[in-house]
Symmetry: C2
Subunit: 638 residues, 2 copies
């Protein structure tokens, strides 16, 4: 179902009930660009820490516009053993609400726009009929504007144009306006002597309107209703009506209701995100970190500086997330699935050992034909993502004794994959852990190499030719990380480099240490990311957001682990040898074995026989080879 | 005529001949936004100097995209006493040309997009079918890329991947690639023993392709044609063909022609601007400063830092410009025309004393119906602008003795209006003088006032209430210019302010002096405008541009006053009392009478009777009242 500004208000109850009845939701966003940085490979270094990656995405991707939001709701019909789906394709555009509302600027990236154009994306629908939105702060501001205007026209409150330094009170009308205001007062006085009920003044300036409000409120505290209206030519004028007390109150109530409706219209699409959030349902996406970041940034709040703050906010907005790209690259799926772009994943999940789920479109909703691909329409992508999730979830059921054909989204089998968002092209940290500390791989086989800017990848290959297979991650023109295949080669490399003049080698530990010192000497840690003219974040800590002034109540949905972990080490230490293998799949390689993971538990269902489903992996040769020439092709969001 | 990527190449000769035969051209651009600054009124201060205004527009407006370019050519048919017009509506989009071409990012401003959307603007046409373009520098780069690739596949030139530090020459193939390259060589050798003419290798990496080129060029310097092709899946592979010498040359010639065509396609719409430029024809626009800046910035070169450099570049690209908004606000039109927005101007020019010109659409071109307005489509706006110009030009003919009904675009009557671009909302400098020094009004009635950030315009009115009518131009939250109506009030105001604590008053001269000192102490003058992450300008001085490496020859179109004036004072001092009146119309007020203006000459036509047409004006009360509340409504580009 296509939802634009035209049918948004009428569709909202349909959207709400679809979310309410669903077992899980799938989402997808289309953006006006991916990255405004120099090039994607420089922005996604293979040895980024999660903090670095988050800061890069925040800095280089958030000025794009999320202009299409796909939502597909999946409801399981137990009797018929099938899913019933409802797909929504929302077109989003920050149409300025009125003359004082924010005039949003956003960046478009030609390659992204061109790609979407080639897929038949309808830009006219976005720009002509997109649904507006406000984030929480803008909503609060708009509400305050209404309240201020109301109190001003009531005569209570200080008109804002009187400066604190001026003590002359509302009586002081600038010389050149006195005659005009005098004429208005005469008009109003004569209104009381006639049978006319209202008088319309000529259009006038905002300053004059303020003077009129101020004068009439002090001269005629009761018995008048004063209102600013617009002519057809959008000129503003004042209408003054004689009213009794009851009539005045009725009019003010009406006006308040009208304003509330205007406010709701302005909040617009953000109301859908609020509903998703409040539902607490599992939200599935494919390679969804950017979708999550954009959704929060555009409809909830400016993204916080600190990664841990971001994790908290994310848990408020999306209490349960699942990333199908992360799932597909994790055991037991990893060995069965070669390519994890959404289109390829969906193809592979149609084949054995996987099964296509039985899915029907709810009555009244247009159905998608998966044979006739409509990829990169957000609603379709969300739908496909949901299908992939179901196929993979149900495959986990085959490990149970007895096997189960349907694994619901609340199942414990799903839990190891929850709240872990895929990290593109990081060699040894596959995911961002939203509900806990991130993996901390050792990286003691990694070298930090600096060299003249003429060097190419082939020079690095030559330099390290004695060490066999290496992996190069470029940082900038004159530096790169080089991963050796054996940790014990590190010392040899460093020794042989001691007298080199054109290049320099450090261990990863030395590099991290050096960078920390630089930061500390500059007196700030993450601030260096925010030097160049970005909007200052007005981030309210989630503890206040939960019970914030806007009446949203995300708070009660927050899972119990909402508290920020200061130490990334404790909490749920693995208790048996089995768990040491780290069932989520990234224990084998180099990261330290200190992180906790609930996914490492044995799986027991129905108290019956237990089947231990252990998933370990070592980053494959393929992964380690992914960047041998230093070129990274392909779209960032697959 | 609508021109998109689809029909661009086929339309180009039509465009060229329309420009060639025309008497004058009218242009108009539509942009994805106007200003990325906080608000328009802060960006267009009423007392900006031309330098300041230029820097503000450069800084805050050039990241938008000019995505529709309207061109209307006007050719006078002497026999029928009518103009024949051809209108072109070009859709422009920087579709990335190939994987290494620039991936342009541009900003969209919601209010501008929303405005265009409400006018029925077709965004799909822009983004799906827009014509690409390159500026001069990008064209040169692309040409060099082609040449480098050619010399590489010829075996001449150093492959770029061999670093200067490596002395091993082209023979050094990294260990892990040797077996692969060996297999390729064997394949090629066996090609010579069979009747097969070509062999296609498997798709491989860019690095491997380089190794193959290098190896084959050294092993088989003749008798082979090696070429990189793409599979349907866009994978690149190498095709090797046995050829005799002649065949090889023929193939290379073919390839070169193909590349030249690709280059032309990439230069795209910029070729139209080159043609306009080369024609040297009068180019008419309405409030055209932003159009001119965008056109140069997008299709010619990154805008220079310095205003004088900008004027030089502008004279290269557009040797003769005329701004109808400037014309309409100048005597003798000023007194006859109230509102100078394009739509209103056109309406007023239909009425007496003006006459609508006789205009017909050339055969084969769709005609516009002026009764059915299509404003804000660039082609239509260009057409209307041309009509306005003709009506005003012909009106000047009524001053001649005998009167003339048709005034051609080359007429000396037009000259006073040429190369002066309207400056929005500057109180005392109505235009930017492209072909000479700018006006330098005295501003000795202007005060620079600083105050607490709570102050509003009304506080300033109150402060200066003793001085009668004042005019306020806000600079930022805590400062503004205040224009007094009498210069002799300045000293009184400063004296009374001496002991004030909350605010401070300086003369305009003191303010300018203070700012100069701050700049000098910082060691740079204009650099302060360029602090925040903008693209560094790669501006080539116009002297080299004219005869630049790309073969454009704007140089010969440059008028004789091309030399930069170091002193803004001399050159063509008025020689008679008549000229002192400064026929262009802005001498009466406060600016110093030191600027030169060719428009101040007596008008003599055909050596007959001379009619002196003198135009003076004093900024009207209306102009001085334009900002009394400090609010500036309306679109920046009217």
């Amino acid at each position: 179902m296509e939802v634009t500004r035209t049918n948004f208000k009428d569709s909202l109850s349909t959207v709400y009930s679809a979310i309410e009845e669903a077992d899980f939701l799938a989402i997808d966003g289309e953006f006006s660009g991916i990255s405004d940085g120099p090039n994607v490979s420089a922005l996604t270094n293979g040895l980024d820490t999660p903090e670095e990656r988050y800061m890069k995405l925040k800095k280089h991707s958030m000025d794009f516009l999320l202009f299409q939001f796909g939502l597909c709701t999946f409801t399981y019909d137990q009797a018929e053993s099938k899913y019933v789906i409802k797909t929504f394709n929302f077109y989003i555009f920050p149409k300025p609400f009125n003359r004082t509302s924010p005039d949003t600027k956003f960046i478009c990236q030609s390659s992204s726009i061109d790609f979407l154009a080639s897929q038949g994306f309808d830009f006219n629908k976005v720009f002509r009929h997109g649904i507006p939105y406000l984030n929480q702060e803008e909503e609060v501001q708009l509400r305050e504007q209404y309240e201020e205007r109301r109190s001003q026209s009531n005569g209570s409150g200080n008109p804002s144009y009187i400066s604190p330094n001026s003590n002359k009170g509302p009586g002081s009308i600038p010389e050149e306006h006195r005659e005009y205001i005098g004429r208005v007062v005469t008009k109003v006085e004569s209104l009381f002597t006639t049978s006319e009920k209202t008088v319309d003044l000529e259009p006038c300036t905002g300053f004059q309107r303020k003077l009129i409000y101020q004068t009439l409120n002090s001269k005629f505290p009761k018995g008048l209703h004063v209102e600013t209206l617009e002519t057809e030519k959008k000129e503003r004028y004042i209408q003054i009506s004689k009213v009794d007390d009851e009539e005045r109150k009725r009019r003010e109530r009406q006006k308040q209701e009208r304003e509330q409706e205007e406010l709701n219209d302005a909040v617009g699409f953000s109301r859908v995100i609020h509903a998703i959030s409040k539902s607490g349902k599992l939200v599935v996406g494919h390679n969804m970190l950017l979708d999550v970041m954009h959704t929060i940034h555009q409809f909830y709040c400016v993204l916080p500086e600190d990664l841990n703050d971001f994790k908290e906010v994310t848990q408020c907005v999306f209490p349960r997330l699942l990333d199908t790209k992360l799932m597909a690259t994790t055991q037991p799926f990893k060995e069965l699935i070669n390519i994890t772009s959404l289109a390829e994943l969906q193809k592979q999940l149609k084949e054995s050992p996987f099964k296509s789920p039985k899915v029907v479109t709810a009555e009244g909703f247009p159905s998608y034909d998966t044979a006739q691909e409509q990829l990169h329409e957000a609603g379709y992508d969300a739908y496909i993502t949901g299908l992939c999730f179901i196929s993979m979830a149900n495959y986990l059921g085959t490990f149970l004794t007895p096997p189960r054909a349907h694994i619901p989204s609340q199942s414990k089998l799903i839990q190891p994959f929850v709240n872990k968002l895929f990290l593109m092209r990081i060699i040894d940290i596959p995911y961002l852990n939203i509900s806990g500390p991130d993996l901390q791989p050792k990286r003691d086989h990694v070298l930090y190499v600096t060299f003249p800017k003429e060097w190419k990848t082939s020079d690095l290959y030559q330099l390290f030719s004695a060490f066999g297979n290496i992996q190069v991650s470029w940082i900038d023109d004159t530096s790169a990380f080089v991963c050796l295949s054996q940790t014990d080669q590190v010392q040899i490399a460093i020794n042989t480099s001691r007298y080199a003049e054109s290049y320099r080698i450090q261990t990863y530990a030395e590099y991290v240490q050096g960078r920390r010192q630089v930061r500390e000497s500059q007196g700030h840690s993450t601030q260096s990311w925010d030097e160049d003219g970005w909007v200052k974040p007005h981030y309210t800590s989630p503890s206040t957001v939960g019970a914030g002034p806007t009446g949203y109540s995300y708070g009660h949905n927050r899972p119990s682990l909402g508290k920020r972990c200061v130490s990334p080490i404790q909490e749920e230490q693995p208790t048996d040898g089995e768990a040491q293998r780290h069932a989520d799949g990234w224990s084998g390689y180099t990261h330290s074995h200190t992180h906790s993971d609930t996914g490492s538990k044995k799986i027991r269902t129905d108290g019956k026989d237990t089947h231990t489903h252990t998933v370990t992996h070592t980053p494959t040769r393929a992964a380690r080879r992914s960047g041998p020439t230093g070129f990274v092709y392909g779209r960032m969001q697959e």
